[in-house]
């Protein structure tokens, strides 16, 4: 008898993780995260205090690494089923496509969580080793990083459900690392509009949470400056990216044909 959709999603998750392990994709990713984190931490040694170190370490490392992790894991995950025709085997099983998306998403989420945990573990170990203590706000920052990772994955899944393998990877990577940050900077500097709706802008909360400046909005002669994104709005924006992207991804995967 066909198992429940939940059991099928769990099977897909397990086998996707197994596939990522066998292909050395997961191990490769963890090596990249570890090497990058250690190098970044070494480079920041000598900062005045634990908070300053943590704030700097958790600025660049999560922003860049989470994008790499998300695109690395999710860029081809759905597209490959259609393009390399492995879907002829998978989709002809008694399974709903939404279950397939759910299983694959859970697998990528577990890998993302593992990568972010390694990053935060290394950051925290270096903070403790260098300064003897670490701010507790790192935990909040970790939560925001996980949420951001989830949003990045959802967006990558969406691109993977509508594009080919190569284009999904390229579009996901450049929209997250280039297009969104540039758009945000232009809106802020030229129009004075706070780009609260951009995922890349919301990612600013990851480092800001460690030691937020006293004032978020600062009025200057040239206009209004935003020291960091609003936490509540950013969480809502990231959640919106997660849900909207994944819903669109499910619709696209259901509609996509295996020709």
């Amino acid at each position: 008898m066909t198992p429940s959709s939940l059991k099928q999603a769990a099977t897909i998750m397990r086998y996707e993780l197994w596939r990522a392990t066998k292909s050395l994709r997961l191990i490769g990713l963890l090596i990249i995260v570890t090497v990058f984190s250690v190098l970044a931490a070494k480079g920041l040694e000598g900062r005045g205090n634990a908070t300053a170190f943590g704030k700097e370490f958790f600025t660049v490392a999560p922003f860049l690494l989470i994008i790499v992790v998300g695109v690395w894991l999710g860029g081809d995950i759905l597209a490959t089923e259609f393009e390399r025709k492995t879907g002829y085997m998978l989709f002809t099983n008694p399974i709903k496509r939404v279950t397939i998306v759910a299983g694959k998403f859970m697998a990528c989420f577990v890998s993302t969580l593992l990568s972010i945990s390694v990053l935060y573990l290394i950051g925290t170990i270096f903070t403790l080793n260098n300064y003897g203590w670490a701010p507790l706000t790192i935990l909040g920052s970790f939560g925001l990083a996980v949420l951001y990772g989830c949003a990045v994955l959802s967006l990558t899944f969406l691109f993977s459900s509508i594009l080919g393998v190569a284009s999904a990877t390229v579009v996901s990577f450049f929209s997250l690392i280039l297009i969104m940050p540039i758009l945000g900077a232009l809106l802020l500097s030229n129009a004075g509009v706070e780009p609260w709706f951009l995922l890349s802008y919301s990612a600013g909360t990851i480092s800001a949470y460690i030691d937020p400046p006293a004032q978020r909005i600062v009025s200057t002669q040239t206009g209004t400056n935003y020291a960091y994104p609003d936490f509540t709005i950013s969480v809502i924006v990231m959640l919106a990216y997660v849900f909207v992207s994944i819903i669109l991804c499910i619709i696209a995967t259901k509609r996509r044909e295996m020709r």
């Binding site: 066909t2 099977t11 099983n93 399974i95």
Partner: protein
Amino acid sequence: MEPIVTKNLTKYYGKLLALDTLTIKIRKGTCVGFLGPNGAGKSTTIKILCGLIYPSDGEAYVNGFNPFEEPRSALENVGCMIEVPEFYPHFNATDVLRYYGKLRGISDPELGKKVKEILELAELSKWAKTKTSKFSRGMKQRLGVAQALLHDPSILILDEPALGLDPRGIVEMRNLLKEMVKHGKTIFLASHMLYEVQEVCDTVALINRGKLLVHDKVENLEKLFRVQIIEVDLLKPPTFKQLKKVKKLESVKSYFAEKNRMKINFDGDKVAQAKLLMALVKDIGLQVASFRPSAAALEELYLHLVEE
């Protein structure tokens, strides 16, 4: 209830009409050969039945369920294999079968046993732990069929299962399908190999340019189109005089002779066939070593209908 039903199934790829109001019912326990030239709409039909592409119009039902709306119920007792299957390259044959077996709810001790059995049946036991990226086309084909049979489905939907197999593999595949027919499975078999279809299937559905031309029992079609061909092996090549006598026989419509072999297209049933053989031996003096019905009968029929 028929296990496979299509009603006015129509599919457009852009402006190209790939399926034109195809209506077909496959009865339980029958093996239907789905024949047609390239681009006739065979794969499109099969992909719609397996829920891989949407029809532009019409309906498709497998097990009484629409494969798009209720894939879990429609595909539960179905084994599908479409084109040359592709697998995750880092998975070995055992991983592949275990994965799809789990998705179909085969529990662990039973799954291990079934995987072993099916790998033996597909003659892949030696390669059970080899990555599928190292598999040849024929091996992939065999693994695809193994995957389709793993859960012992009552319905098999197969698209060119013998494609890429060597002659031995083709014979094995044919025997395997015959065995499935004996076990009462419903088989919908798209193929180019007319001999395979004639050997395995009870009925034939011929499709061309998306339209169903005919769907009937092979012998009915042969009678309807008066296509009966036997192949005769002779101990000695026939003489010119003997060939002239063959041509003059009442039931013979045409013949083809090459060295020790003859193909005779005749009119009539089994009795006519018996009389013809007697005449070849007794009246004409041919030394017949063996004879068999020819796959060319279906071939003639196929060409006749497709050309029309």
